[in-house]
């Protein structure tokens, strides 16, 4: 069934993809065999984009996306509010992202990775200067705490509002704002203080 859905999707949306979130969530809860494929089709790109921007690594983002949906489908029976399917998906995504960032942070501590080492972010495109800038950007994000990093990524890379972030992370608005303030201060310090960064305002930008 999943294959059929995918083949149809190559040309045009199938009737199933016209379903609203409530109907889709109800189908998931009821264990309809087509529901996981339809949910994946609707939300996988959202989760992947969020994960790849937050992590700066598309391979890790693929793993996170798969983990999110594996857990979500395995626990779809726990979805109590069918009208909140999107929030349900995003909550899973945030939880797995937190877990992944903590795992990476612990890994860095255990392997004693020097803070000056840059992560190997396999961004597409052949421009070495842009890749270098991005590696430095994500190295700066690596220095943030998990919560600060996610709040910063959602706010600045996904353009979410503080209220939306507070809702999905189950934090108070003031905690979110404080976390964001700390993150922005740290990233600004990096931008100003990194002598090797080819600053965009002063002429770097998207390098060619």
């Amino acid at each position: 069934m999943a294959r059929e859905l995918r083949l149809v999707a190559l040309v045009s949306d199938s009737g199933k993809s016209e379903l609203d979130d409530v109907a889709l969530a109800q189908a998931l809860i009821a264990g309809e065999s087509w529901a996981p494929a339809a949910t994946w089709k609707r939300y996988a790109a959202l989760v992947y984009n969020m994960a790849s921007r937050a992590l700066g690594n598309e391979y890790e983002a693929e793993d996170v996306t798969q983990e999110v949906f594996y857990r979500l489908f395995a626990r779809s029976g726990t979805l109590r509010k069918p009208e909140a399917l999107r929030s349900f998906v995003v909550s899973f995504a945030i939880r797995i992202l937190k877990w992944e960032l903590r795992r990476k942070r612990a890994g860095r501590l255990f392997t004693l990775l020097a803070s000056k080492d840059l992560p190997d972010a396999p961004f597409r495109g052949a421009d070495p200067e842009a890749r270098d800038t991005l590696r430095r950007f994500y190295a700066a994000l690596d220095r943030l705490g998990t919560r600060e990093r996610i709040v910063f990524a959602l706010r600045r890379l996904e353009s979410w509002t503080f209220s939306e972030i507070a809702d999905v992370m189950e934090l108070s608005l003031s905690t979110v704002k404080r976390s964001y303030g700390r993150a922005e201060q740290e990233i600004s310090r990096w931008i100003v203080g990194d002598p090797d960064l080819v600053g965009l305002m002063s002429g770097g930008g998207r390098h060619v």
Binding site: P36, E58, E184, V208
Partner: protein, 436 residues
Amino acid sequence: MCEEITPVEPRMAAVLDLARSAVAPMSLAQSEAGFDVVSARLGARKRRQSRNHRLLFAGASAAAVLAIGISFVHFRQTEPCQAPLGYWVEGGQLVEGGYLRASDPAGVRLRFVEGTEVRLPVETRGRLLSVDDKGARFAIEQGLATVSVVPRPEAQWLFDAGPFLVAVHGTVFTVDWDGPSERLDVRLDKGLVSVKGPLSKEPIVIRAGQQLSVDLKKKEVRLQEMETAALAGSVVLEKDAPAAPAERPKEAATSAEPRARERAAARSWAAALAAGDVDFVLADAERRGISHVMAHATSESLAALADAARYRRKYDLARAALLAQRDRFAGSRRAEEAAFLLGRVEEANERASGKASETSKAETSRAETNKAIDWYDRYLKESPRGAYASEALGRKMVATWSLQGASAARPLSEDYLHLFPHGTYAGAARALADKP
């Protein structure tokens, strides 16, 4: 929920734009593979649960799982051979009759799951005729298409351009058909294509670095090296030719030994650059003699040298190579792009000139930023739809902002958002537009 996102410092906005634009959207291939993994894990989970609950029927369950597994493997082995290639459209939509309609000013892209891509600018009219498991057939009814075909065994990609049929294997090329003047141009960056059509009984084979131009009205077929084509006197290899002209260009190419040597150097510099061996390019240029290189190197060599010099922040050398490109290959695509790159070099040089005294530094900085703006203007004038148009306008906006302030740059930010609402500098443009 309608809380506004406050603007950030322009340099951070640009870094954030870069981070956003670096993430390619999830491809259909990634999506399909990802869902397969999730499905397999869920299947395994279900099987584990089933095993725990039904120990008494373990034998029967194992047999059933095995049977499902075998049929699944069989399905996986046979199905992909028959299923047509998946594809999707970016920057537009596929409408009735298979026509691609662009909604993005940058044009529309037709992308296939195995990596092949067809790009059409807004003014090009083209349509998808058919898709199967080996490839697709696409008709260019008017205008230019840029095609990148991923090589695969038994792949079959066909492009109709007026009365011509271009058969492709693995390659990157552009095909331009102008119906009213009955003129076809095919430029091949790499790989091999063959073109069937009037004026030649046998298919015309085009190799990497060659350009085929056919003028049906004049009954003229030209096959020439692309760099030669950029110069004035191109060689007419075939005119009203009935026989296979595929091997003729070799003769033309061997007539100029030094040019062939320069082309070989160009290939090796481009390859070295692609492999990240920037220092090899610079050292080899030094070894050959910089002035000799500037006077005799091919267009491709000059482009590679300019890139290598920019990456190593040797801005004087980069500037010299780019100016030589514009001077010696005026009118070519690389010469036009050199204008944009010269702007980048001036900006980069302005950053690097921090050794001068404070007063002279400010003056130098203003002069270099002004030069950069001039080059961006020139590029935008020469190539308003060029590959770097978005970058050039974005850089011009940022440079104007830093030099003349927000009010001078604001009209540019409005232009930018109008032309490139999702461009790299859209964040900076919005921040500028919102600035009081």
